[in-house]
């Protein structure tokens, strides 16, 4: 199989896990990759575990990342990191909420977009494509604070 990159995003219902992967998958699609995105959703209620996975590369078969083959795990909630670690490959990267400057956000609702910024440090995607993707998926009135959140995450590092 040709090189495939596997990304898992995990969190709790209502934290914007699916919005994050919607944006990223769309950007990757427009960058010309073969992309598959998969998640189990359909329950409306807030608060339960949610995870969404994206695979991209030249050609993707299964929409689900084989166990132990994820390259990157983005966790939006500290309680969701541990239960997803087994899905990561040896030497894979975990992006934890504790390590990112979420506390600096004026609106904690933008944490998912900040984490997209943090994830983007590990992906070879032009920054502008990601900024355009965010603008496509988020309503105008919250766009500015989300773009700022993205940049904060992309810069990375706690003060």
């Amino acid at each position: 199989m040709k090189k495939v990159t596997n990304v898992i995003v995990a969190g709790l219902g209502g934290q914007g896990v699916l919005k994050l992967t919607d944006i990223l998958a769309d950007v990757l699609f427009h960058e010309g990759y073969d992309v598959k995105k998969s998640e189990v959703h359909g329950m409306s209620q807030r608060g339960g575990s949610v995870s969404s996975e994206i695979r991209f590369g030249e050609e993707i078969a299964s929409p689900m990342i084989p166990e132990g083959e994820a390259d990157l795990l983005v966790s939006l909630d500290s309680t969701q990191t541990q239960i997803n670690l087994h899905r990561l490959r040896e030497g894979g990267t975990v992006i934890r909420p504790e390590d990112e400057p979420i506390g600096e956000l004026s609106n904690p609702k933008c944490a998912n977009v900040l984490m997209l910024g943090a994830l983007s440090r590990h992906l070879d995607i032009p920054e502008q494509a990601l900024l355009d993707g965010i603008a496509k998926f988020l309503p105008a009135k919250v766009l500015e604070m989300n773009l700022a959140a993205f940049k904060l995450g992309r810069k990375g590092g706690l003060k």
Binding site: K36, K37, E39, G42, S44, G47, G48, S49, S62, N84
Partner: protein
């Protein structure tokens, strides 16, 4: 025209319906199928929520009788509700009629794991199974043509991962204006009196024979040759897992799995030292192979449960039989903070009620801190199962039984139970609590006949009143309250009604917090 898109299976099916010139899509919401009709409406097609799946299929049958291309969407258990018209129309024949069943292996959001491919055999209709969004788009368009060519309803089976995974789709069609319709009288094929039905049954078997011959041509399958050690016969999402798990293996990928291409499978299997059938759920293709003495190997029983994935397919291939390590448990879903059901359940719990529950967000009342739901079988079962308990329990316990149902579920199949309640009244009476949150919450806030809005959320004056239905049925008491704001009123009402021998209905009316937010947005948008 050709366009490259990034779509879920459900979005792809919706687009295919538009590009096939479908006149009408009907259904009842159910995970993982709900987004199909929503996307048909978003793309300008005609789509409706019916009160239940049986009604939806019957409307679609009528449209087909009138010369239309029509289709129905539902989750797997919905087909149980629609099974009555399904079996008869399978014999009678139909044209331009497709039923989508969205199965849920692994039960991400369902009460059972039934494999609806069995329905194709039981009813006698062809079965199509796409494995990704592209195939969903291509096959769904083809399904209408197949239905018209052979004069049969086509069953279109998707699964959770096909419905909800997104992948790249080449859309090589464009919207087609639905063709003109018209009525042609044809009583031999539309009035199933025994004299006509006997002929219809023979015709159905003949159609299946011809469909099998067509499937043998290879039109609905692809074959890839591989190393002589291993050949795999596969369908649905399992195809994607298998081609990743065993890229070197030969592969026969079937898209029409009933009537299956027996000789095609036999010839394929003969080319390999070992031939495996890989499929999620029941050993459906495997059994068809074995009945016809095709030497194939199935999967061990443990892989019948849950979804397959690349890892599990690798284990099937390697013959690993050791128990699988369970994945670490995530946090289960709970009633939202501010959910209107919370107070209702607190009261029923504190009063020590035996709660016959139903299907919806409110089934979650079974979990702590409420622990208030005692039974949940299927859509609409709350009222009859509550009545059954009342009929036979000792009086002291009979008085504790309460049936609880949501508004959408009440309109789905709860009405029948209400009629039963009035007609076969238990000696202690009964109490029915309708949790009316003004939406079909669990499946994603769909409208229903009682919300005052249509599938696309536009307003309608033709709203069905649950209150009026309850009154008309002839119960002794009907009360409406908001258990969140009037908790004490609700508590004393429940106590009073349980102590009497009357038939009582209490409607707890307060919108789901997510539906209220949606309603606010719609109003702001002037809708």
């Amino acid at each position: 025209m050709s366009e490259k898109l990034f779509l879920s299976g459900n979005e792809a099916i919706a687009l295919a319906a538009i590009d096939a010139g479908a006149h009408l899509g009907c259904g009842y919401p159910g995970t993982p199928s709900s987004e199909i009709l929503e996307n048909v409406a978003l793309n300008g097609g005609k789509a409706e929520w019916a009160p239940n799946e049986k009604v939806a299929l019957e409307v679609a049958i009528g449209a087909s009788f009138a010369g239309a291309r029509s289709f129905v969407t539902m989750k797997h258990v919905g087909l149980n509700v629609a099974a009555d018209p399904l079996f008869t129309i399978a014999c009678a024949g139909a044209s331009g009629l497709v039923v989508i069943t969205a199965d849920d292996p692994g039960m991400a959001s369902s009460q059972n794991e039934q494999d609806n491919r069995r329905y194709a055999v039981a009813a006698g209709v062809p079965l199509l199974e796409p494995s990704n969004s592209q195939e969903a788009y291509d096959l769904f368009r083809q399904a209408f043509a197949l239905s018209e060519e052979f004069g049969t309803l086509v069953l279109f089976r998707v699964t959770t991962r096909v419905c909800h995974s997104k992948c790249v789709v080449i859309r090589d069609g464009s919207p087609v204006t639905p063709r003109p319709t018209g009525y042609v009288k044809d009583i031999r094929n539309r009035v199933m009196i025994p004299a006509f039905a006997r002929v219809a049954h023979r015709n159905m078997r003949d159609r299946l024979r011809r469909l099998e011959q067509r499937n043998e041509t290879g039109e609905f399958s692809t074959e890839k040759s591989g190393t002589p050690e291993l050949g795999i016969i596969v369908s649905g999402i399992s195809y994607e897992h298998a081609r990743e798990a065993a890229p070197e293996a030969g592969m026969l990928h079937l898209k029409m799995t009933y009537p299956a291409p027996i000789e095609l499978m036999r010839n394929f299997a003969a080319k390999y030292q070992r031939c495996l059938v890989i499929e999620e759920g029941d050993p459906f293709l495997y059994e068809q192979c074995r009945i016809h003495s095709i030497p194939v190997e199935g999967k061990p029983e443990m892989f019948r449960f849950g979804e397959l994935n690349v890892g599990r397919v690798r284990r099937i291939i390697s013959g690993a039989a050791e128990d699988e390590a369970p994945a670490p448990a995530g946090k289960p879903p709970q009633l939202c903070v501010g959910c209107p059901h919370r107070k209702s359940y607190e009261v029923l719990r504190d009063l020590g009620c035996i709660v016959a529950g139903d299907i919806g967000c409110y089934t979650l009342g079974v979990l702590p801190p409420f622990s208030a739901v005692d039974t949940c079988v299927c859509m609409g079962a709350s009222i009859p199962t509550g009545l059954g308990m009342r009929h036979v329990l000792p009086e002291k316990d009979a008085r504790r039984v309460v049936s609880v149902i949501g508004d959408s579920t009440f309109l789905h199949t709860g009405i029948n139970g209400l009629v039963e309640m009035v007609y076969n009244r238990p000696a202690t009476g009964h109490l029915l609590v309708i949790l009316d949150n003004s939406t079909t919450a669990m499946t994603g806030l769909q409208e229903h006949p009682g919300t005052g809005r249509k599938l696309d959320h536009t307003r309608t004056e033709h709203r069905v009143s649950i209150d009026a239905l309850v009154k008309a049925a002839g119960v002794d008491h009907l009360d409406v309250c908001d258990s969140t704001l009037e908790t004490e009123k609700f508590r004393s009402l429940v106590q009073e009604r349980l102590a009497s021998n009357d038939l009582s209905v209490i409607i707890c009316r307060r919108p789901c917090i997510l539906a209220a937010a949606q309603e606010k947005k719609l109003r702001e948008a002037g809708k």
